[in-house]
């Protein structure tokens, strides 16, 4: 996996490309992400870099957290995330990862926490059909059959049922970067990304299956 960047979703809008087509875009405040730790084979058993994002007051962090950040001389950050890499020699402690790592037209994967819908029923969560609302029917939003009877005598695991919907990590793959504003650390990504505005996102170059 290659190195990504942390960002905040700011919202969506629409811009026009050279051909005059309207392109829906999500505006992401991406980085700067200071490198807070470099993990190497000798010290940690694997290679990775850890980056921080989002400024907080010093009193919001614990002493161990502040001590950890002091090693890289970064100001207090809200989020820390690791990116596992094959080679960490190009990175240096305290240097920041910025939006200009990305280029226009590049494909990216965007991960975030999806909007929570709470405990949702069959129709909302799994798009089940609803029962008749009238003609004496009392079956309105029930699931129907959950499987056979005495044999097997149980409901198979994985049966789609009501439960928590959303508020889970979701990755949207292969979105196009439409525009990079390095000055203001903004990324314009075509299409929608998980979560509400203000949510934390991880953006990294797209993983193409079958390609290294």
């Amino acid at each position: 996996m290659s190195v990504g960047i942390l960002g905040t979703k700011l919202g969506m809008t629409q811009i026009f490309d050279e051909a005059g087509r309207a392109v829906p875009v999500t505006v992401v405040q991406a980085g700067p992400c200071p490198i807070t730790q470099i993990k190497t084979k000798q010290t940690d058993g694997y290679t990775a870099i850890q980056v921080g994002f989002g400024s907080v007051k010093e009193k919001a962090l614990t002493l161990p957290e502040l001590g950890h950040l002091k090693k890289s001389e970064t100001s207090p950050v809200r989020h820390l995330q690791e990116f596992r890499l094959e080679d960490v020699s190009e990175f240096e402690l305290g240097h920041a990862i910025t939006a200009d790592r990305f280029s226009e037209g590049q494909l990216v994967d965007v991960s975030g926490t999806s909007m929570g819908r709470g405990f949702a029923g069959y129709q909302k969560r799994h798009n089940f059909k609803r029962g008749p609302m009238g003609h004496g029917s009392k079956n309105h939003r029930l699931p129907g059959s959950t499987g056979a009877g005495t044999t097997p005598g149980r409901v198979y695991p994985g049966k789609r049922m009501a439960g928590q919907m959303g508020n889970a990590q979701v990755t949207v793959r292969k979105l196009t970067v439409v525009k990079v504003d390095a000055e203001r650390n903004l990324l314009l990504i075509k299409g929608a990304v998980p979560g509400k505005s203000g949510g934390l996102l991880t953006i990294h170059p797209a993983t193409i299956v079958g390609k290294a």
Binding site: L10, G11, T13, Q14, I15, F16, G20, A22, V27, Q29, R184, L186, L188, S197, G198
Partner: protein, 120 residues
């Protein structure tokens, strides 16, 4: 700078410098840029504005006209670069925000009364 301000500043560079004030009921002439091979030309499209949707950069107008006896409705993104110009020809006096009732009418009944208190 708040998130909303940043988004507005991104949109700002895509707005058209000047667009006429368009109301529902107006008769407009829209210059649509058409690409033929690698030649560009402007095709005028004239009709009545029967609806306005959205605001800001995504604002659209729906323009209806009768072409060869068949009703044609086209939706234009007001700020799209493919729209060369929009010109208001006639101001109309209507009492609805959406003139969908015009779809059920033919001939003389599709006329919209002209109003003179708004500037062209």
């Amino acid at each position: 700078m708040s998130a909303q301000d940043i988004i507005r500043s991104i949109e700002a560079e895509y707005y058209k410098k000047e667009t006429p004030e368009i109301y529902v009921g107006d008769t407009v002439r829209v210059g649509v840029i058409i690409q033929e091979g690698n030649k560009e030309r402007t095709q005028p499209y004239e009709g009545t504005v029967i609806a306005k949707r959205n605001g800001g950069i995504s604002a659209t107008i729906t323009v209806r006209r009768i072409f060869q006896g068949i009703g044609v409705e086209r939706v234009f993104l007001v700020h799209s670069p493919r729209i060369e110009s929009i010109k208001v020809i006639r101001r109309g006096r209507v009492r609805r925000a959406k003139l969908y009732y015009l779809r059920d009418r033919v001939g003389k009944a599709t006329r919209v009364k002209q109003r003179f208190d708004r500037k062209l």
